[in-house]
Symmetry: C2
Subunit: 306 residues, 2 copies
Amino acid sequence: MTTLAIVGFGKIARDQHLPALSASDRFDLIAVASRHSSLDGVDNYPDIDTLLTEQPALEAVSLCTPPQGRYQQALAAIEAGRHVMLEKPPGITLSEVEDLARRAQRAGVTLFTSWHARAAAGVEPARDWLAERHIRKVDIEWREDVRHWHPGQQWIWEPGGLGVFDPGINALSIVTHMLPQPFFLSEATLEVPENCQSPIAARLNFTDALQTPIHADFDWRQTGPQTWRITVVTDDGTLVLDDGGSRLTIGDDLKLDGEDVEYAGLYRRFAELIERGESEVDITPFRHVADAFMLARRQRVEAFIE
Amino acid sequence: MTTLAIVGFGKIARDQHLPALSASDRFDLIAVASRHSSLDGVDNYPDIDTLLTEQPALEAVSLCTPPQGRYQQALAAIEAGRHVMLEKPPGITLSEVEDLARRAQRAGVTLFTSWHARAAAGVEPARDWLAERHIRKVDIEWREDVRHWHPGQQWIWEPGGLGVFDPGINALSIVTHMLPQPFFLSEATLEVPENCQSPIAARLNFTDALQTPIHADFDWRQTGPQTWRITVVTDDGTLVLDDGGSRLTIGDDLKLDGEDVEYAGLYRRFAELIERGESEVDITPFRHVADAFMLARRQRVEAFIE
């Protein structure tokens, strides 16, 4: 068992990381570092520096803090010789993540930039099936109700908060892993509420070397049923990956309507990487977001009042 | 001599590439592909596809077209087995440049993402001097008059045109090469005219693992004397790289007040890379620009009327 501490004990840590770690036979959760929260039955610290000093036998940390400030925490852990798993997005800039990757390699520790949506049950089977097909068209619909999923979270509208790309990057993490060809943005529109810095909606047109049309529609204004769907039209029928990746249909066959296995999968992967002495630093989804901010046309839309 | 064609025969090709190639003993300029222009004494073609078909013995192309559309041209050249040099910025997205890098490697041709400012006379001596000093503070001032340098160029204000980062990326290309440590953005403000998509000014705060303050001030509204200056305060005196990199002062000593050697240097480097069978694809300056677009706070400022 690898000893592990969670840093940042907010909603995602409680809802997802804690149950996954409780069920894991690879990690032993021995501590939590959090400014405002604590967990019974483990050692608790106010911040990562105290944690690293007081727990010399600690082998790994999982950073669940907001991305602003993540770099300094990851740097401290890497320089103290601990393995690091980063929640998504792995930072606030691509450049700082590149720097962490170099430092982890030099320090001989594992750095894992996790993308939880990639570990959804339908993603690997979809990837395998698509590997042998000719892809004609990809349609990504990621539409949800921000008021439901991010109540009171003002930081999502601030610089670095990414706005609708906070969920949208989940779709991008799936598609970049699932499609056999790399692709890249050709045109984009961001809708930014006039009282916010970050977009509430994005329409993205990607393509690849074969000029395959890949369209993404991210929207945070959808009430009622929520949509997290990727549709891939191929020369051999249509694949639909729905419910964020857990439901897979190919043609008329429902192949899979799976349970939520994402965080269990992430920690399994983290354990594997540590065992092999490797890192996995894939910034591809984050790079697409940066490309979108750089290339997009911006439209001001009505103020967002929560 | 390597046979070479220029693709896109606009201002930068005439002013810089042509003289550098005329003086080069490594390249033989045999053709130009340009929709609207032509050059006496070489073969002329309307576009790159015709050029590649009609000139089977052509070994290398230098792409001087605007970055929008550069990917398809570079792809065509790479797949036709030609070496490719890209003007800066190397594309409209980081992702497409990554894709070109992979494809060039697979095709066994040289891809060179050129950064002309890096080839300025003072950059290498500054880099050498800084390598052995402790850096306390970096100040980048890049302020020029857009009306003078980009008359009538509406594309610079459009998505993908980068606005003030069009000159600013020159400063970033120098600093990323010259400083011994990688650095990354922590905070930024972009000033965007209310009738434009791209910023007319940017204030950027970078830092590195040692928490060195690195500040950049890009502004396109400066009339009168123009400023292209990088000041590095070290424990052993202050280095000033001025006039875009051609004038170097360390402490009170004027070390260098050089002539313009940038494009001669770029073609010398391209020739070396071809000879060694290597590529040089450095997206670091462009990644900082994407980071800035992603992380910055935007302020609307008065309309830009040329």
